[in-house]
Amino acid sequence: MIAPTAGPGALVLAVLTALGFGAFLWRAYQLYRYMRLGRDEDRTAHLGRRFRDELLVYLGQRKLLKRPYYVRGAAHALIFWGFLVITYGTADLLLSGILGWRMPGTDSGVFVWTVDLFAVAVLTSVLIALYRRAFVRPPRMHIALDGYVILGLISLLMLSLLVFENAGVAAGVLAAGQTPPPLATALRFRYPGDLSFTLFAGAWWVHVLTVLAFAAYLPQSKHLHIATTLPNVFFRSQRPRGALDLVDKIEERETFGAGSVRDLSWKQLLDGYTCTECGRCSDQCPALATGKPLDPQKIVLDVRDQLLREGARLVRDGGERGTPPARWTPAKTEELWACTTCAACVEACPVTIEHIDKIVDMRRWLAMNEGDVPAEAQRALTNIERAGDPWGLPRDTRADWANGLGVPTFAEKPDAEYLYFVGCAASYDGRNQKVARAAVEVLRAAGVSFAILGNEETCNGDPARRIGNEYLWQTQARQNIDTFTKYGVRKIVASCPHCFNTIANEYPQLGGSYEVLHIQQLVQRLVADGRLAMRDGAARETVAYHDPCYLGRHNGVYDAPRDLLDAVPGVERVEIEPHHRERGFCCGAGGGRMWMEEKVGQRVNHRRIEQIMALDRQASKVASGCPFCLIMLEEGVGAKGIGDRIRPVDVLELVAARLPKNEVANA
């Protein structure tokens, strides 16, 4: 269309465009300077994966189109894709209005059709979004004026677009050979007199001015995500999800963790700008769901709000340290200690925000700088330090669970293929010792060559790292790595997902790289290879599978345990829908919560038991692959007094019970 900017119009538009984009750039520059207050962090490695993420997560909107958000996700994807096309058209409008230039292809029928279709689609999506805000009002959604302003601006953009196209065609302002927009001109209005040109020019100007107002308003609002999602996805962490960031050269540092916004990395601050307050993370958080003060969305928004509050001051004064997180908002420390690091929030976030890293960085400050850790958690740390296990049970009784089983240590069998890393829970906790014994029976039955470290094994350090005591984690990890090196260990199998995760994903940060498997992965392979025979000895049973967070979400091990369960004769597997696989609900014990009291709200494990008991297809057992899950499920079943209806077990126990030699005992 020929722009209605004859005479001084072009100059006026040029000035207004400069003002609109100037306001945008000025604020963007401010925000960039605040962001650079964060500590340096290199996020440039793995370029290939970064470009792939841009295609899938940014352009492809993959993380938006997830259950249970298909409709909302699709509405958003339409608005997003629509905007990509329409923005190209907007550039064309401004260029033609100021300089008379055209963007290539804007005359083509394909482009005109696309803009037209998307304009209607976006308008429809905006109506859905308005309806949800005004009437559905999802409890986790942050409903504020900002959202309405943005939706209002988008509607105005689309309406004015449709009006100026319609009136423009009537006024005959189409350039020679240009295709008329089909939907906008479908209604063949008859405009009295010469009103069609006035209407065209008016709507055109409204549209263009709305674009400029949008540009100026954008960086003041949560809608900034349309500008920041692109870099935020590009610079997302490419570490394994289960690995926390290493605190390098820890002995030379003077402060540890996040004592102010300055100590969070620039990417963590960018996360704050990118949060669009959709509340999907809050929807999935087990702590929030059971009445704890933690809300993962608030963790991210507090970072942003604090940065906006003191950013200007910190930029001016390079010597100013900034406010510690504990003083950002009331009850901040309670929020931080309520996290189980289950990664439900990280999984749910459509714009790849990393919640756990922020929480752990703030915990690191509390734990290492302030020595301010809940007393029970502190006891666990002291126990790890002194006894090598969080319960504080004697070091030299670590291998007592294996008494009489004749399990060799690496010292006795240096040529063993696998190290079975037993872990503290299976070594000391009575219930989990049974799982360790079952693991030994299964590995033996399949003829796997393995040995344990005996009393030379020590806690892998996972609880310490997640409570925030990085130093203790590094001490424990180094001790284990030294022992592995001493015996030339190359392959490790662990029956605890926390041991598995930290050895597989975090020990490489300290130079310890091994081939690490969770025992269910190994046993599933053995079964698939025909190396392990099971017989249908016991009665048929229905078994619900509970995904441990550090097996499932943190490491993507969803199928091996399911395949293994399906291979167990007489077992029928049921899913704990909808809280299964990537939406699995935490047992409440991760992130060091195993050793902290849970006094606020409902206990997370009790909620989990309720979910299991509410299934249509009632299970007689709930199977997991994690000692902490097992302890929590046992406690939940015990507290609810339903031990006669459902028994928590480890998948390995189901396998061991069907080994030929155990059949008689079970019959």
Binding site: I250, E251, R253, E254, T255, F256, M368, N369, E370, G371, V373, A375, Q378, L381, T382, N383, R386, A387, G392, L393, P394, R395, D396, T397, Y471
Partner: protein, 258 residues
């Protein structure tokens, strides 16, 4: 206020203690060592005072083998200002009274306003050194305190008694033995640990302090672990009435408690 805390290094409470082959001492192979529990309370109590009054200083003092240095460092990491170790060839076998005399020598040199000890060590549970130290110094001694506060050039000490507490006052320097601190002993912050690593811990040799290692002391003639506990008995047979009858019978005839 200048506070000095005497600590002893003992096996950590998480260690399963084994009797050595001589039958009269413990096997120290593989043992993790720590500050004796009540001494740790004493350190915490001193630091709680230092938290309130930044002018105060806390010195830790220990007499024992060279490994006791690690426990002094732990106390420094918790926040104590300096540490002194009395050690040397004879330090391993110092009789308790000789320990008190050696500590007293150092205390006479450093001239603190107040000395804190744990009420007893968690290895031999003798509770000897604190009162003996007060005796050697000629200072007053208050036992099993839970709180103290400076008062008119001396100190007030709280001790819990049946149904309440008493406040005792010493008009000058005193030795207090500690029952418990207000809070659980603090966990050192990492900067604290790093700072403690760099601190010098001066050593004093008992001989150079003029201490004779031998002093009247009882001798341990035998050490034995507690007898192993037998397995419990579960009465499974019969209905509640029969089970109750059997329980009464067993309590009377086997356990002999009725």
């Amino acid at each position: 206020m200048k506070i000095l805390v005497c600590i002893k290094q003992t096996p950590d409470s998480t260690v399963r203690v084994k009797v050595a082959s001589d039958g009269r001492s413990i096997d120290t192979a593989g043992v993790t060592w720590a500050i004796s529990a009540y001494d740790e309370y004493a350190v915490e109590l001193a630091l709680e005072h230092k938290d309130r009054d930044k002018e105060s200083t806390v010195t830790v003092l220990s007499a024992g083998p060279a490994r006791a240095r690690d426990s002094l460092r732990q106390a420094l990491a918790m926040g104590c200002d300096d540490a002194i170790l009395v050690t040397g060839p004879s330090a391993e076998t110092l009789a308790p009274l000789a320990v008190a005399r050696a500590l007293a020598k150092v205390i006479e040199e450093t001239k603190p306003d107040l000395v804190l000890c744990g009420r007893q060590a968690s290895d031999d549970e003798q509770g000897f050194v604190g009162p003996a130290l007060a005796e050697v110094l000629g200072w007053p001694h208050v036992a099993t305190i839970t709180k103290f506060a400076p008062a008119d050039g001396g100190v007030d000490a709280w001790k819990e008694v049946e149904g309440g507490h008493e406040v005792w006052r010493a008009n000058g320097p005193a030795v207090l033995t500690v029952q418990k601190s207000e809070k659980e002993p603090r966990y050192p912050s990492l900067p604290g640990i790093m700072k403690a690593k760099k601190k010098e811990i001066p050593e004093r040799d008992p001989a150079s302090l003029g201490i004779d290692a031998s002093a009247p002391a009882p001798e341990i003639v035998k050490m034995a672990p507690p007898p192993a506990r037998g397995a419990g008995k579960v009465i499974k047979d019969g209905d509640a009435k029969a089970a109750a009858a059997q329980l009464v019978k067993l309590l009377r005839e086997e356990a002999k408690v009725l």
